[in-house]
């Protein structure tokens, strides 16, 4: 179902030994332990294996997959390959035409920070990514619409040395309680910093109004974003 690309070890910190994420692309996942060294460069895609989502057969190129569908599953929707640029890396991902960006992040890319789904669609902000620098709900955008757009996820922001102060202030202020909504907040936090530079508490709350946190961490986001703004202004 997904491209088999070079994998990084980023699952280690998630305690998931033994589970394989299909087609994980290592797109600037960065630190899972919070160390400077782990704030790493993005990986390069090296090879793809295309997988028939109906019967699981693998092919080594996309045309062969299309042929397989013509012959074996006539009438079924043929998966598409789409060029996605995520956290600065462009790669081809096999997607089904109806897949949202959220599903693509989960099934094909393996970056699940912004694949979180709190609502059924469009009401929680947990799935927020940045598309061309602006917050977007990955549950409400089709993957095929994203070709040629710059997609940023929480993993990419956390791994970006330029936004290290934001990531660190999130950690310092316990901006996560259970952590389910936090990656969605982090992406919008970056947008707030780029939009306002030095945002007020009211501006932060207004911009985060679409990101629901059942744990009520809102005031922690205000503190973290303002502290990050001060650090970024000071050149840290």
């Amino acid at each position: 179902m997904a491209s088999n690309v070079s994998r990084r070890d980023f699952l280690k910190g998630g305690g998931l030994a033994g589970i394989t994420i299909a087609g994980v692309a290592s797109l600037g996942v960065g630190s899972v332990l919070g160390t400077e060294e782990a704030c790493a460069a993005t990986a390069t895609m090296t090879e793809f294996v295309y997988t028939c989502p109906v019967c699981g057969q693998h092919t080594s190129d996309y045309d062969a997959l299309v042929k397989h569908f013509d012959g074996t599953h006539p009438g079924a929707a043929v998966p598409q390959a789409v060029a996605l640029t995520i956290n600065g890396t462009t790669f081809m991902a096999q997607v089904e035409p109806q897949w949202t960006l959220r599903e693509t992040l989960l099934y094909a890319v393996g970056l699940t920070g912004n694949a979180k789904q709190m609502c059924d669609r469009g009401a929680c902000g947990s799935c927020s990514v940045l598309i061309d620098g602006v917050p977007a709900l990955s549950c409400s955008v089709l993957a095929v619409e994203c070709e040629g757009r710059q997609i940023e996820t929480s993993e990419g922001i956390a791994a970006d040395p330029a936004y290290r102060p934001l990531f660190e202030s999130y950690v310092k202020h316990d901006a996560s309680q259970c952590g389910y909504c936090t990656p969605g907040h982090l992406t919008v936090a970056k947008y707030i910093l780029t939009k306002y530079g030095d945002p007020s508490a009211d501006q932060i709350r207004a911009e985060l109004a679409g990101n629901i946190c059942r744990c009520g961490t809102y005031s922690r986001h205000v503190a973290a974003i303002q502290e990050a703004a001060a650090s970024l202004k000071g050149g840290n």
Binding site: G34, A115, D120, Y170, A209, C215
Partner: protein, 765 residues
């Protein structure tokens, strides 16, 4: 003022004063990096190539019986891998092992009766995608027999109401509670008490169903794989998402009970379960995912439960009518309480699912007053609508505080004074909280008689405060294993993380007691420790630190006993400082503790403090200020102030964060949150996040947190639980009463109810 709390200190080093680590700031949570970056994998994030999807048929009616007539078309659909019905031999026998708390009616894993709209029944299909599952379910031929349903526990209690579970009780919808706690009891003599009263009043408190609203809809994922250790029994290992919960790990135990494989054959897949409120409702997917996976040779299965479907779990309804008698000075002399409490639908399989394992939400809270005469009567009534969780003990304080407000209103007294007059044990905790909270909130400057203050913008201003206990969870034992290896101390855990930072608090306590540097204590997730009770929720997480402390003391002693010989000394002549073994007489003589080899210890135990109902050592007082728009009925919570006795605050940032969390939740429950069904069909009307609105960043009131430390709790160094005590919405109702002069008997305090109350005033009632 009331009595002073007296108790025996429990365990070792409880009186420690020389804290180096506990109570200090600046220690990021070990999981915080992963949670913020998105590297943390929650059950919803798990996916493996070849994962199949399972979905159940869900009932479109308030209650119905389904007849599954033909599944052949579904089975024939391309992409379908399995169709099982409630008549399936294996499924119909589940659960195979029945825990004791099932005494009030066995809940089959899948039956032909659906107890609420959205309930799983009749058929489950497994297919290659959600779309194929939906198509397959639409091809199953079924016939529905619509049955009468009940949405309100008060209706369930009425004579002549349809009997919902005749196999449990053929005569009525009345059921029992698991702990067997008495539901009718009397202290003193209530009728005599009322004779002594100068005033007799009646209060009413009602609460509709709140959605449990876990941020992550339950996400069940499981597969089976070869045993990597090659155990000779040949059984595979079941990997299961973990929503860990006392008294064990929900899905793991569910899987164990269901699939009939030994407990050691289960591994939890993720330490993250996202937040939950109190005891949660574990749904059928917990057992279906591993069972269906096993049936299909171990292939990964994702059992789908959407957000819409996740509104099926709720905090139960509770309705109180309480007659109170009190003297001219404001002291209670008689309480007669009647309570109808809800037991929701069956609809799952984990612990707590039936809503049976509830503590009686009766007049327990009044036992913490000095009122000598109390009569309590209650009934649990089965309903449809949704499954319900257990009901946490702190709810007992909602009617108590309402009674205090009624006394205050009758006698033109501040409620703060009524609280102090009536709570039985006030020193040291309640007195400290009340004093600190009043000062921080500005109570004396803000308080006024009901309806007597209008803000500059024309809205009515109101304030109130309420008291409650801060709980220590001394019901269960905590299991702590510590191992020192190569200069570090390791503690494995398996309970999932729900936002309380309890492993980080345990880490701080272990470092404090062992003398290790904080970074040399590693509290880590080990998914292969099924059925280990440690922390998780607010009260249990804090109490777990007590066991961590005891284990740490044992480990330090062992290290010193082994290490002292290297330094040519006796065990009591050496100490551990900053991870080094040092000679007390000459601290320059030291060696790394790693040189002593591997040393391990285990501790299983609990503090002596019993469950929280009858022993109140740590308290808290919340204050609230509201503005009420008399034109629209809209209530704005201007701010909260919470003076909470942490006993001893171990990790300040997360401790205070829990207060913010709980009060934010309370604000939503006070003003908006309520499940609403269509009365004619039993269909849930607001099962989405637009219509069931939890507070956003714009709704969050100002929250001022005032930590109090009396060292009176049952956790390490006298610490105690936090969040539980603050989640209810009743305080806002008391503040509204201070603004408008009328009590509103039912939460949430929506504009229509406020307007209705204001209308009563204008009608001169």
């Amino acid at each position: 003022m009331g009595e002073t709390s007296v108790w025996e200190l429990e365990g070792r080093n409880q009186e420690r004063e020389d804290f180096k680590i506990v109570g200090t700031e600046g220690h990021p949570g070990r999981q915080s990096w992963d949670m913020a970056s998105g590297a943390a994998k929650f059950p919803t994030d798990l996916h493996r190539e070849g994962t199949l999807v399972a979905m159940a048929l869900r009932c479109p009616f308030g209650r119905a019986r389904v007849k599954v007539k033909d599944v052949s078309k579904a089975e024939a659909l391309e992409g379908v891998r399995l169709v099982v019905t409630h008549e399936d031999e294996e499924i119909s026998e589940m659960p195979r092992m029945v825990p004791s708390w099932f005494e009030f009616g066995r809940s089959p894993l899948l039956s032909d009766e659906a107890e609420f709209e959205g309930d799983e029944c009749g058929v489950v299909v497994v297919a290659i995608s959600e779309e194929v599952c939906k198509d397959a379910l639409s091809l199953v031929e079924v016939e529905w027999e619509v049955l009468p349903f009940i949405l309100d526990a008060r209706d369930a209690a009425k004579p002549g109401a349809p009997i919902l579970r005749p196999e449990m009780n053929p005569d009525s919808n009345l059921t029992g509670n698991t702990f067997g706690a008495p539901i009718t009891w009397e202290l003193g003599n209530v009728e005599e008490g009322f004779k002594e009263a100068d005033h007799i009043e009646v209060i009413e408190y009602g609460r509709q169903m709140w959605s449990q609203f876990r941020p992550m809809p339950p996400a069940y994922f499981a597969y089976w794989d070869d045993d990597p250790w090659g155990n000779p029994d040949g059984n595979k290992i079941g990997y299961v998402t973990n929503h860990a919960h006392f008294p064990s790990n929900g899905p793991i135990v569910s899987a164990y009970l269901g699939a009939g494989t030994d407990m050691d054959k289960y591994r939890a897949l993720s330490p993250y379960m996202a937040a939950r409120y109190c005891d949660f409702v574990e749904k059928r997917g917990a057992q279906f995912a591993p069972v269906l996976s096993k049936r299909l040779g171990g292939v990964p299965i994702r059992y789908i439960q959407s957000r819409r479907e996740s509104f099926d779990a709720a905090v139960p309804q509770s309705f109180f009518t309480v007659r109170i008698g009190f003297k001219k000075d404001g002291t209670l002399c008689a309480v007669q309480s009647k309570n109808i409490h809800q037991v929701g639908a069956r609809g799952g399989y984990g612990d707590k699912t039936h809503g049976h394992l509830v503590l009686p939400a009766n007049a327990q809270g009044f036992k913490s007053t000095s009122c000598p005469n109390i009569h309590s009567e209650m009934g649990y009534y089965v309903t449809n609508g949704a499954c319900t969780t257990a009901d946490p003990g702190k709810d007992h304080w909602e009617p108590v505080n309402l009674a205090f407000a009624k006394i205050a209103d009758t006698l033109d007294m501040p409620i703060s004074d009524v609280i102090m007059k009536n709570v039985k044990v006030t020193a040291p905790s309640l007195e400290a909280c009340m004093a600190a909270g009043k000062q921080a909130f500005g109570w004396d400057e803000k308080w006024h008689l009901p309806g007597k203050r209008t803000l500059a913008d024309g809205r009515l201003h109101g304030i109130a405060c309420r008291s409650c206990w801060s709980m220590t969870w001394g019901m269960i034992s905590y299991n702590i294993n510590l191992r020192m290896r190569e200069g570090k101390v390791y503690m494995p855990y398996q309970e999932s993380l729900i936002g309380t930072y309890w492993p980080d608090a345990a880490q701080m306590v272990i470092a404090e007691e062992t003398g290790m540097k904080l970074e040399d204590v590693v509290v880590y997730y080990a998914g292969h420790y099924p059925n280990w009770n440690q922390g998780d929720a607010a009260d249990r997480g804090s109490t777990c630190t007590w066991a961590a402390k005891e284990a740490a003391i044992d480990l330090k002693r062992k290290i010193c006993e082994v290490g002292c010989t290297y330094l040519g000394a006796e065990a009591d002549e050496v100490d551990i400082i900053d991870s080094m073994l040092v000679l007390k007489a000459d601290p320059s003589v030291q060696m790394p503790i790693g040189a002593t080899g591997q040393i391990a210890t285990g501790f299983c135990g609990k503090p002596l403090v019993p469950f929280q109902n009858d022993v109140i050592r740590t308290m808290n007082v919340d204050f609230c200020e509201v503005a009420v728009d008399t034109e629209t009925g809209l209530v704005e919570i201007l701010d909260y102030c919470s003076a909470h006795d942490f006993g001893k605050i171990i990790r300040p940032s997360s401790g205070l964060g829990q207060l913010e969390n709980a009060l934010t939740m309370a604000s939503g429950r006070a003003l908006r949150e309520e499940l609403v069904w269509d009365e004619g069909t039993g269909v849930l009307l607001n099962g989405n996040m637009y219509d069931y609105k939890v507070p956003t960043a714009l709704d969050q009131p100002e929250i001022l947190t005032v930590p109090v430390e009396t060292r009176c709790g049952g956790g390490a160094y006298g610490s105690t639980g936090v969040a539980h005590a603050h989640c209810d919405g009743g305080l806002v109702g008391l503040a509204i009463q201070n603004a408008i002069g009328e009590f509103i008997p039912m939460l949430p305090y929506t504009p229509d109810k406020v307007l209705e109350a204001l209308g009563k005033i204008s009608q001169g009632r």
